[in-house]
């Protein structure tokens, strides 16, 4: 009598066990709930941020007792009064908002031609160069990039040394507002281009050809055809750049030299220098409200644009 080795690989047994376990833990009648189970871990992790916001809101309602350096037990709106009336915070908010507007405008003006050339060029080498030039700084991080600008623009930096060779300068090129804005534009450019590029890809090249064959020059084609069709991408990129700039910390801290603080820097100072967590939390709440209000208004007006994680509807 011969025994035949059963042709049943070990992997099959593993999968059988897995299938049985899954069928036991999540029987078929639960199937409609499966997608909710799948998103649950991500929802819980994101929930950490929500709990954080709740804790910030709670802290913002407690004032610092200067004699004991403890936060009060009872809730009060005192911090909000202080944050909204002190000229220091008003100046910082105005500086951040103005900066966000300027940086958004400048970034979009630079990002649009970059994305357009990247999408439309027939040379794949040029497209690759443009993509690499975009991703390299994006992946290097803000601190290292700001450090690069310090080497270039510092008092003994490359630019001043070059100017020194021809007998001019040195000029103070960093630790001022324009330097912060310049650093921010450079930081935001990859975000903006990466949000614009898919929107431009979606515009068929034939549409531009059609406009040209009907006698429109390139400028009019741009104004009446390309820009209107690229609107969702421009809005998406604009929102991202605006909110990231409004809430940025590193560029004002490194290139601003302490005298060009944005809101995030003021928040950091309240927590880690003045140790007034209550007032710091209040400023954070106001920044969250300001930022969400801007995004919310634009979302409500024009939709999530290219930001959506939506299922593609047209197949």
């Amino acid at each position: 009598m011969r025994t035949y080795r059963t042709a049943y690989p070990i992997l099959w047994r593993v999968f059988d066990a897995l299938e049985a376990a899954v069928a036991f833990l999540w029987p078929a009648r639960f199937a409609p709930a499966l997608p909710y189970l799948l998103v649950l871990p991500a929802v819980l992790l994101t929930g950490l941020l929500v709990i954080g916001l709740v804790e910030i809101a709670d802290t913002s309602l407690r004032v610092l007792d200067r004699s004991t350096f403890r936060l009060s037990e009872t809730w009060t709106l005192e911090n909000y009064g202080k944050a909204l009336t002190q000229p220091l915070f008003r100046n910082i908010s105005l500086r951040s908002l103005l900066g966000a507007v300027i940086v958004t405008a400048a970034t979009l003006i630079l990002a649009f031609p970059y994305a357009y050339l990247m999408v439309r060029t027939s040379s794949s080498a040029l497209r690759k160069l443009l993509l690499i030039a975009l991703f390299l700084p994006f992946f290097i991080g803000q601190v290292v990039r700001a450090y690069g600008w310090l080497i270039i623009l510092g008092n003994e930096g490359l630019v001043n040394q070059l100017l020194g060779l021809v007998g001019v300068g040195p000029f103070r090129l960093i630790y001022n507002y324009p330097a912060v804005l310049f650093g921010l534009v450079q930081y935001m450019l990859p975000f903006a281009v990466l949000m614009l590029a898919p929107a431009l890809t979606a515009i068929p090249e034939e549409v531009e050809r059609a406009a040209e064959s009907l006698g429109a020059d390139r400028l009019r084609t741009l104004r009446h055809v390309v820009l209107p069709m690229a609107r969702p991408g421009l809005i998406g990129a604009g929102i991202v750049v605006f909110t990231l700039t409004l809430t940025d910390f590193a560029m004002p801290a490194i290139l601003g030299g302490g005298s060009n603080d944005f809101i995030a820097n003021a928040i950091y100072d309240q927590f880690f220098r003045t140790s007034d967590a209550g007032l710091g939390a209040t400023l954070t709440m106001l920044l969250v409200v300001l930022g969400s209000a801007v995004v919310g208004i634009i979302f409500a007006a024009v939709g999530t644009g290219t930001l959506g994680l939506t299922r593609r509807t047209a197949r």
Partner: protein, 264 residues
């Protein structure tokens, strides 16, 4: 008039190219200088600053801590982002819009808000001062990148393939591993690379969550450039340049950089 635009186009793109690349080039150049302070023209070439950072145990430790944080972040992000991405792209959920907007919260809450919030949460949980919570925090703030990458590939997956597998008798788990997962792999790889590299150079949230004992590399660099600028910092910064170059090369080989140009 017709000729005007290309000229302006090239000028603007050229300006952007220079602005984007100059800091990187200068840092790489400065790291090879032989002089003490950063000078132009350079005082000659040398590798002495690389020798200096090999000696500096604080910089090396900070770099290892950053690697650890990035690894924790990526390991958490892969299952969470893949499952959520598959669920969002494949199934029709009730309250889908709400869930989507909720999962975009990490992008809509200002980074300083997320950072301060997590600092308070981790503070009351008593885990502040450890390294792994920083990995979790960085994962929480960047998770939409992972989900976005995965939904992109699920959208490219033909649902008939899964139906065919089921039709041939494959049970659900086997269908997932044999059909769904390989199909979304490009998205998972793209997402993990993004998560890893963004965690490696994440700065603000780390700054809020670290103390002097567990500084990550970006925080260490930030604290050092506020005092004095020396070329050894340029040498250690080259680590980030090399990591970024590797990530780009990997992305290009595995999925092609052009994937970022496609419209959804």
């Amino acid at each position: 008039m017709t000729a005007r635009k290309p000229w302006v186009l090239w000028l603007l793109v050229g300006f952007s190219l220079i602005t984007l690349s100059l800091p990187t080039l200068v840092i790489v150049g400065a790291s090879f200088t032989a002089g003490k302070i950063i000078a132009f023209p350079p005082d000659g070439l040398s590798l002495k600053w690389y020798a200096a950072i090999a000696e500096a145990s604080d910089l090396r430790a900070a770099f290892l801590r950053s690697l650890y944080v990035a690894t924790v972040c990526t390991l958490v992000a892969i299952p969470l982002g893949t499952l959520a991405g598959v669920a969002l792209a494949k199934y029709r959920l009730r309250y889908e819009k709400t869930i989507q907007l909720y999962l975009l919260l990490p992008f809509t809450i200002p980074l300083i808000g997320s950072g301060i919030g997590l600092m308070l949460v981790f503070g009351s949980a008593g885990v502040l001062g450890q390294l792994w919570p920083i990995g979790i925090a960085v994962c929480a703030i960047n998770l939409p990148f992972m989900i976005w990458a995965v939904t992109g590939s699920v959208n490219a997956l033909d649902p008939d393939l899964e139906n065919a597998a089921a039709n041939c008798g494959a049970p659900p788990v086997q269908t997932f591993f044999a059909v769904t997962l390989p199909a979304v792999m490009p998205g998972v790889i793209t997402g993990s690379l993004l998560m890893f590299i963004l965690a490696l150079n994440e700065f603000l949230v780390s700054l809020l969550l670290v103390d002097a004992r567990i500084m990550t590399l970006p925080v260490q660099i930030y604290n050092s450039i506020r005092s004095i600028i020396t070329p050894d910092l340029a040498a250690i910064s080259v680590v980030f340049v090399v990591a970024a170059a590797f990530a780009i090369a990997a992305l290009d080989r595995l999925v092609g950089l052009d994937i970022f140009l496609k419209s959804k």
